[in-house]
């Protein structure tokens, strides 16, 4: 019976084949997929070369056989009528949709397939054409991605930043919870979407190959460097971000992992800092202006006080009583001291307000000019001032003279009994700047005053001991700071002092 049946099916099939051969053979063979035509009994009536290849059978081994032999599950069942639907309806439900099933080769191995069904009318009734595509490559890719997801998911979620993995077409393939939060999207809304949706500019462009570079090179150029861009949330709001890129090899090719950091706070802090620095600069400038204007305007009334007390003294000393003479002398002394203070304050504020002229300057000539200005003090004290050969430096000449004059002047002034000896030497430091040392054999300074002496109007001695307003070293400090350096002192009471400052050499 079974044999009889087989033969009758085969005969019918042969008849069909002969009928359809002419009509469809060409079409079937031209299809890129394996094609199998099946009748409503689930028997194969026609197939193409690709089907032979894919399943490892010769054509005559399959014709008349149950399609279950090559697609064990899910295909034949779909063709059957049941209590609820006719064959046509059953088929109609499947038409055109891709159904993922498993194919079985002659050698018993299985592989994933996707089939697309379409009806084919014939004298035997409705036949079904199945286009069968081997999707093992696609499945592998999906599996790989799933594997990768598994591997990296933990890492991604542990990252403190939003992490977005993008392929070379600029599509998001993976992201973490932080990224969902930061951009306000649900994961499903982003996976498969262009990264441009959340980072409109500067990211996707960086991944593209162009005439000058391959995709790998394009990426390599960006790896590891922080790039500041703008992010866009789902609600359309923008925020500043910094992204760090790193490559991730996958079956799909190189993917790019981007760590996206919201830098709103940092940007605000930077702006705040910038504003504070500007405010500070402005307030410093105003203060310097104020010191200048104040000291200048103070001179006017002072001139009156000083001039008239002097006139008073000139005309009336000895003509009033001795108390009057003493009062006039105190008033004159106060006026002249105030004049020195104002002059020094003016000099101090001028150091800060005058534009600097940084040029190649011979420090030796500057020192010599300073010594000429100090001629009187040197002669009076009998001081011996010696110096090394001094280099050419980058400085404002006037200010350098002023600096030497103040420092050497101090060295001569703050002396005990005996002959003042001052030596100016120079050496190079590790930043190859010239370090000047002004060493004296004077009174020396207690280390607790090392900072204080550079403050304005700071003095360590009584006026009767040493005259002065306490501005000289403040001016020195300001001059050096304007030259981008600092001034220090090394000293011990009774063992002299050494003042040091550094200046850049010539270019």
């Amino acid at each position: 019976m079974a044999t009889m049946q087989d033969i009758s099916v085969r005969n019918a099939a042969e008849k069909n084949l002969a009928q359809m051969e002419g009509k469809y053979r060409g079409l079937l063979e031209a299809a890129p997929d394996a094609m199998v035509v099946v009748n409503q009994g689930g028997e194969i009536v026609l197939l193409n070369v690709q089907a032979e290849k894919q399943f490892g059978y010769r054509r005559d081994e399959l014709i008349g056989q149950k399609v279950k032999n090559i697609i064990p599950e899910g295909f034949a069942e779909r063709l059957r009528a049941d209590g609820l639907r006719s064959v046509e309806d059953a088929l109609a439900q499947q038409i055109g949709t891709g159904i993922e099933l498993t194919g079985r080769r002659r050698d018993g191995t299985e592989f994933p397939i996707e089939i697309m069904l379409s009806p084919l009318e014939s004298s035997e009734g409705i036949l079904v054409t199945a286009a069968i595509r081997n999707i093992s490559v696609r499945r592998d890719a999906e599996k790989h991605l799933a594997q990768m997801e598994g591997k990296y998911r933990g890492l991604l979620e542990a990252a403190p930043d939003a992490m977005v993995v993008v392929n070379q077409r600029g599509e998001i393939v993976l992201l973490n919870v932080q990224a969902e939060k930061q951009f306000g999207y649900h994961r499903d809304e982003l996976v498969g979407q262009q990264v441009k949706n959340i980072i409109p500019e500067g990211f996707a462009e960086r991944l593209l190959a162009d005439a000058l570079r391959s995709a790998e090179d394009a990426l390599a150029q960006q790896i590891g460097t922080g790039i500041e861009l703008t992010g866009r949330r789902k609600n359309g709001s923008h925020f500043p971000i910094e992204i760090m890129l790193s490559p991730l090899e996958s079956a799909e090719g190189i993917l790019v992992t981007a760590a996206v950091r919201d830098i709103t706070k940092r940007k605000k802090a930077e702006a705040h800092l910038l504003q504070k620095v500007e405010e500070l600069n402005r307030s410093n400038e105003e203060l310097e202006q104020f010191a200048y204007i104040a000291s200048h305007d103070l001179q006017e009334p002072l001139r009156m006080v000083a001039s008239y007390t002097q006139l008073l003294s000139k005309r009336y000393t000895g003509r009033l009583d001795s108390d009057a003479d003493e009062f006039i002398s105190f008033a004159m002394d106060g006026a002249s001291r105030m004049q020195r203070l104002i002059n020094d304050l003016l000099a101090y504020s001028r150091v800060g307000t005058k534009p600097m002229d940084l040029l190649d300057t011979s420090s030796e000539e500057a020192l010599e000019q300073a010594l000429i200005n100090l001629r009187g003090a040197v002669a009076e004290s009998g001081a011996i001032v010696t110096h090394d050969r001094l280099p050419t430096v980058l400085a404002d000449e006037m200010q350098l003279v002023h600096l030497f004059q103040n420092l050497v002047g101090n060295a001569i002034k703050y002396q005990g009994p005996g002959i003042p000896r001052v030596h100016i030497s120079v050496s190079k430091n590790d930043e190859s700047k010239w370090v000047f040392s002004i060493r004296d054999n004077g009174l020396g300074i207690d280390s607790q005053y090392f900072e204080k002496i550079f403050g304005i109007f700071q003095r360590l001695h009584k006026r009767e001991e040493f005259a002065g307003t306490g501005v000289g070293l403040a001016i020195c400090k300001k001059i050096i700071e304007r030259h981008g350096g600092s001034i220090t002192v090394e000293s011990q009471p009774g063992h002299g002092s050494t003042f040091r400052f550094a200046l850049a050499g010539t270019k």
Binding site: Q299, E300, L302, R303, A306, S307, Q310, L311, S336, Q339
Partner: protein
Amino acid sequence: MPIEVLLVEDSPGDVRLTQEAFRDINRSVHLHIASDGVEAMIFLRRQGVHTLAPRPDLMLLDLNLPKMDGREVLACVKGDDSLKTIPTIILTTSEAEVDIVKSYQLQANCYLNKPVQFDAFESLVRSINDFWLTKVKLPTRGKANE
């Protein structure tokens, strides 16, 4: 013959100091005072209350003055053919480079700073007297503006 000097100065203290200094140095100096720029120009042009004013042999001019400042006075004087031969000395507290340059551009004859101490001020007035009123040859009065 008295020497006519116009002092343009708004500070009474400075006016008095200048008067005191000339009193000690040269009693033949006749010091006329204008306390702002407008009054200075009225004096020089012999207008209003100054119709009988003499033509000054020398003018001492402060820069910072009310109404019309010293720079404007200087520009007017040196732009006026009948007044420009009057030697004009700027006497100011300003040490600003811009003031010095501007004054010479406007043809000031010299620029002096007021010293703080009376001794120094007196010695400056003495220098003015010795040079501008003694050694310098000035045009004869009445011929200068012809």
